[in-house]
């Protein structure tokens, strides 16, 4: 945290943290006026919102469905299988993407060729970066997030289900009107947390998936900080961007927490 001050200074290695001259908000202004600003912010928001819309509901649906399974063994098996990808490292997941999506030998393109289509160079085209990113995110993390919802579902009072059964409610109606409201507080909390990390979009994965060819959609705030800061050694400038990102995140978190408190009586604290 102490280091945050360099965002407001013009850092140079000779004078160090506390000796470099103060420049106020210059670094922030420079970022906002830079030509990458719109692109980088736009990319980040695109992926973040797309990811939230697609990746957030999937584990909830999975948990609701798995919870309704009669057979304990099938339930357990499903859980284990669905969350196993969470234990594969990001590097390997991206590695799998590269081999399976390879334009010459990849599985996906073999399917496309089989059905008479033209092979697509997924990892090298800007328009494919977002879909591939989001789908692989769901693939890797949905099963693991599901576990939390399953834990919450275990604490839904079974008496409610029995009462509803007597009243002739179908399974779907019970899932919709008992299970779903039962886990709404957990959903709200996790949603707020997800919002708080919205702009931190799986930075490691974005960096790994980045190629020279898809930069126009894959450069997000964090990878930009990495490139500008560590590879080009513009420490103050990129620290300012990092700080800008943190502040935006915090603001989003506080806003949504406030909304949630007003509407659902749920809050992080």
């Amino acid at each position: 945290m102490y280091g945050v001050q360099i965002a407001f200074r013009n850092y140079n290695p000779i004078d160090g943290f506390s000796g470099s001259p103060w420049v106020g908000l210059d670094n922030f202004v420079r970022f906002i006026h830079s030509y990458q600003f719109t692109q980088v912010i736009g990319n980040t928001l695109w992926i973040a919102v797309l990811g939230l819309l697609v990746a957030f509901p999937v584990p909830i649906v999975l948990a609701l469905v798995v919870n309704q399974l009669q057979s304990e063994r099938f339930k357990k098996f499903t859980q284990t299988v669905l969350y196993s990808p969470a234990f594969i490292s990001t590097v390997v997941v991206v590695g799998i993407m590269f081999v399976l999506l390879s334009p010459r030998s990849g599985l996906v393109n073999n399917v496309i060729k089989l059905t008479g289509g033209e092979p697509i160079f997924f990892m090298g085209s800007p328009e494919w970066f977002r879909p591939v990113y989001v789908i692989s995110d769901v693939w890797q993390n949905a099963g693991f997030s599901m576990i939390v919802y399953l834990a919450a579902l275990a604490s839904v009072d079974p008496a409610l289900h029995d009462a509803a059964k007597v009243d002739g409610a179908s399974k779907f109606q019970r899932v919709r009107h008992i299970d779903l409201p039962g886990i709404t507080p957990v959903i709200t909390i996790l949603f707020i947390l997800a919002i708080g990390n919205l702009l931190n979009v799986g930075f490691e994965k974005a960096l790994l998936m980045q190629t020279d060819l898809n930069l126009s959609t894959s450069e997000v705030i964090q990878t930009y900080v990495y490139h500008a800061g560590l590879q080009q050694a513009q420490f103050s400038y990129s620290a300012a961007i990092g700080l800008f990102n943190s502040i935006l995140n915090l603001a989003l978190l506080l806003t949504f927490n406030w909304i949630a408190r007003r509407t659902h009586q749920a809050s992080l604290w």
Binding site: V99, G124, A151, S170, E204, A239
Partner: protein, 322 residues
């Protein structure tokens, strides 16, 4: 959580009075609603399972298939023209072995440091008589939502003289706040104050109590923490990427990244698939990639069934806290 499961068992045992079906209140479609729901549910889950398993299975069979068969799209469900050349190449590659050695070293040291620090810290924070407990907690929690960013972290590590050493990889992320909160919640729930008072009367000081009573009572938590950190350390690459610049110190994941991903970027250009010696070499390289994915993920995949119980429990502690 246990009380809830008990309620469930109890209520399930009570026989339901079957409600007399009332024709007006139950439209016809209700008769089919449940079977339809069940079928849809099972189809959805089977599709999900297939979507998770098939890519992994494909990588596995591709790693022992003849690369030419993969290129021609003949490999679908069974390996074709079995070859172990990919694996032979990997095991002959010194970088892989060195990376593996480094990963094991970082994993062991990193896990030991993290687990020790988290257990001690979380226990202290779980004690209601700790002065300034709320302030400590606040300081930790703030970092969950607000951090100084990559650059400041880098500069701090650099100024501490840890660049290009193992410590840069194992120390900065040693204490995750989320894990600290889980551990604290566990201590608060399972170590009653009365136990400590009793031990004090028997002459145990805080250290004896922690070592002889708290730790033995927290075996499941310790297992969970060890597993979380083994998995995290085994899979991490980013800290190594920014803090290490000496090839011989790279952990396995970074070596993998350089071979699996970086090499692809340079080679997957617009070159067509014409049969030259270059293309043949590339096919072998592809094969090695498949094999490498298998080798690097297999240890955790095999351990997964044994770890599952602990991870589910961790999610429960987290959910209770929520």
């Amino acid at each position: 959580m246990t009380t809830k499961t008990q309620t469930r068992l109890k209520t399930a045992a009570v026989p339901l009075v079957p409600g007399r079906p009332d024709r007006r209140r139950r439209p016809l479609r209700d008769k089919f609603a449940d079977p339809v729901f069940n079928t849809v549910a099972i189809v959805v889950l089977l599709l999900a399972i297939a979507a998770v398993v098939y890519p992994l299975y494909f990588v596995l069979i591709a790693s022992i298939s003849d690369p030419n068969q993969i290129y021609e799209g003949n490999v679908w469900f069974f390996p074709q023209g079995i070859t172990f050349e990919g694996y032979q190449r990997i095991f002959a590659d010194a970088r892989i072995w060195q990376g593996l050695g480094n990963t094991i070293l970082y994993t062991v040291v990193g896990t030991a440091i993290s687990v020790t620090a988290i257990l001690c810290g979380a226990y202290a924070l779980s004690r209601k008589d700790l002065p300034g407990r709320k302030i400590f907690m606040l300081v930790f929690v703030v970092t969950m939502f607000f951090d100084g960013g990559l650059i400041t972290k880098y500069l701090v590590v650099r100024d501490l003289g840890m660049l290009n050493t193992m410590w840069a990889v194992v120390l900065p992320g040693a204490v995750g706040v989320w894990n600290l909160i889980i551990a604290r919640a566990f201590f608060e729930q399972s170590i009653p104050d009365e136990l400590r008072e009793a031990a004090q009367i028997d002459g145990a000081n805080d250290f004896t109590f922690f070592l002889k009573m708290v730790l033995p009572l927290s075996k499941s938590l310790i297992m969970l923490m060890i597993m979380i950190h083994v998995v995290a350390n085994w899979n991490s690459f980013f800290d190594a990427l920014i803090f290490l610049n000496d090839d011989s110190k790279y952990p396995l994941q970074l070596v993998l990244r350089n071979i699996l991903i970086q090499s692809d970027i340079t080679s997957t250009g617009t070159t067509g698939g014409d049969i030259t010696s270059y293309a043949a070499a590339q096919r072998i390289a592809e094969l090695t990639k498949y094999a490498m994915i298998v080798v690097s993920s297999l240890p955790l995949m095999i351990a997964l069934p044994f770890m599952q119980k602990h991870f589910t429990k961790g999610a429960l502690i987290g959910a209770v806290k929520n």
